[in-house]
Symmetry: C2
Subunit: 363 residues, 2 copies
């Protein structure tokens, strides 16, 4: 896949190719160090094994919309820089799975579970779970460190990279802050809509949409007005994206989402939907509904009946409607900001398409 | 502490000041996000709370020795870049403590234990240990990401930073590879001297001495010959440094080292000293001695008698003498390499002093 091929036309394949190539190059100096190579192979499998490449996709179209090339050296450099976002995401997911002690991801064992299994199969010394944890923490760290290297060594004019650096830095701090807040709010039973919105702003809006757009546009030398418009677009789409996720986690068709309906409640996730539900119940003095929602998210293992009652309660108090209306409203303001940005085509059409896909998807 | 003060004269204080200043600046954009501020404050306390600043110290003297300024803007920039090594070290220690499930570090609770305590004190929801683990993983991630930011935003000519980047990248990959190998060897009971030496080369020699020297010298624009000489010096001193550590962990005075003698054996550490001991026992057909060493490192909780027997066995088979001789030999070749580097003073004298301190210390 050389640089003459049109990146625009097959973006995910190009992103994956850039990742594969970078991971191969990065491990060259350390390839003699078996068994570390096994850990690096696990990282490669994880990174190439799935995901919608949503962050580099937003970043790429911002690059293109701000006048960045679709082919040639600069395009390859920009592609490498935005593909690095997938290594950040690999770290976030691998460490998240450790923190949640999740067993599977994308239909395969999580990294810590896979390494614990290897330990057990070989009847190694010590605890398999502890070995799995150590391997996953370290593999996530490699992904985080290499993300920076991939961004820092992309073949781009130094001025372009310097322009995008503040966005790159903010993105990493914001996702870690969002993760921390999420863990903290769940522990501290912090139930306000403000707290849920803050997590949503950091974890989804900033990390998944705003900063990728910011990075792509800054790499192409966008001015402050264009970046502002893109940040407004990204913020609104990002929040709407998460709200759609909340609704799918509650009411989505298990056949389509791959998760049983109400799964977020079962996991005790403090979504904005839940916070709005609790607030509505209080305002409407619907104590039974409030209790039903509250119970489902605080019980360690709520029964199916408890989850069902909470799902019904969230509809009854109007939280589902409120959130649907908010998605429509946010999509509207986002598209206004996008028009204001007046991006070059095909970027404007592509970002419009992404906005609709993110906010009205069924999985 | 402005840049007119002589950095040479009070290096650790200047390194700590640079760290404090950077951590303060980095958190500014996210300061409104309580309770994440609490996590950042824990990172600051950890970073400023101790440590010998050994990595930035080696890097600084390489910078000076290769012609870097002792004061002024460039000196401040170099100081920031080398102080960033302490944030890598913070990540390594915080994540290491999670992986080993250690309770205390530098006389204080480890980060994951402190956050678990906070959780328990507030009687929050869920498991305190799980919350502590999540907080420590995320705080380590912040340190790793911010280390890069601190290095990348140091006020230095872009050419200088670009020259040091390969060393910066190698250092991060090497420390993670070394940690992984260490965990792996311990699990797989990998007992060869070659395996122990490989961990030593990556975790101590490369990460603690070679790459810091490489970074400092490259920032000052050192040529390949000078860098080669420093890398030889660093490799030998780094390995000798770890061997001294192995001996102190075995025979050190508990009053001075702060750890009971034989503690490394008790923790099952696969040091080069242990590997040499096992090899010597085999070569000399001293089966009882070999068994004593082997038992102490593989038992989950060896008795004091078992540890004592292993300590005696390591002396008996001559492993202690072999390692002492190796330290002397490595220090000699290291100092030859240093002379070959022909550094400007006071750097040459300082590095000679550091070499002696690292290899003949009593703690």
């Amino acid at each position: 896949m050389d640089s003459v091929t049109d990146i625009d036309a097959e973006l995910p394949a190009h992103i994956e190719h850039a990742l594969d190539e970078y991971l191969c190059r990065a491990r060259e100096p350390i390839n003699h160090v078996a068994p570390f190579t096994g850990a690096l192979e696990a990282l490669r499998t994880f990174v190439l094994g799935g995901g919608k490449r949503i962050r580099p996709t937003f970043a790429w179209w911002a690059w293109r919309g701000a006048g960045g090339d679709a082919r040639g050296d600069r395009a390859d450099g920009a592609l490498q820089a935005v593909a690095a976002l997938e290594l950040i995401q690999a770290c976030a997911l691998i460490h998240d799975d450790v923190m949640d002690d999740s067993d599977s991801r994308r239909g395969a064992p999580t990294v810590h579970v896979a390494f614990a299994d290897t330990h057990a199969q070989h009847r190694w010394h010590g605890s398999p779970a502890r070995f799995g944890l150590a391997a996953a923490v370290l593999i996530g760290d490699v992904a985080l460190a290499w993300a920076d290297d991939m961004f820092a060594t992309a073949d781009l004019p130094e001025q372009a990279r310097a322009a995008a650096r503040p966005a790159w830095q903010a993105m990493r701090t914001e996702v870690l802050a969002g993760q921390y807040l999420d863990v903290h709010n769940q522990a501290a039973c912090e139930a306000s809509p403000e707290a849920a919105l803050r997590v949503n702003e950091l974890k989804t809006a900033a990390y998944t949409v705003k900063r990728p757009l910011h990075i792509g546009a800054a790499l192409a030398g966008a001015d402050a007005a264009l970046i502002d418009a893109l940040l407004s677009f990204g913020n609104d789409i990002g929040i709407a994206f998460q709200l759609r996720d909340d609704l799918l986690g509650l009411l989505g068709d298990p056949e389509v989402t791959g998760k049983p309906a109400g799964d977020d409640l079962r996991e005790g996730k403090r979504t904005l939907l839940v916070a709005v539900g609790l607030e509505h119940a209080r305002q409407q003095s619907k104590q039974a509904a409030g209790r039903a929602i509250s119970e489902a998210v605080t019980e360690d293992a709520p029964t199916d009946e408890q989850v069902e009652r909470a799902v019904d309660a969230l509809s009854e108090v109007g939280a589902v409607d409120t959130v649907e209306r908010r998605i429509t409203q946010l999509t509207g303001t986002a598209l206004e900001s996008l028009r204001r940005a007046a991006l070059a085509e095909p970027a404007s059409a592509k970002l419009t398409e992404l906005a609709h896909a993110a906010t009205s998807r069924s999985r």
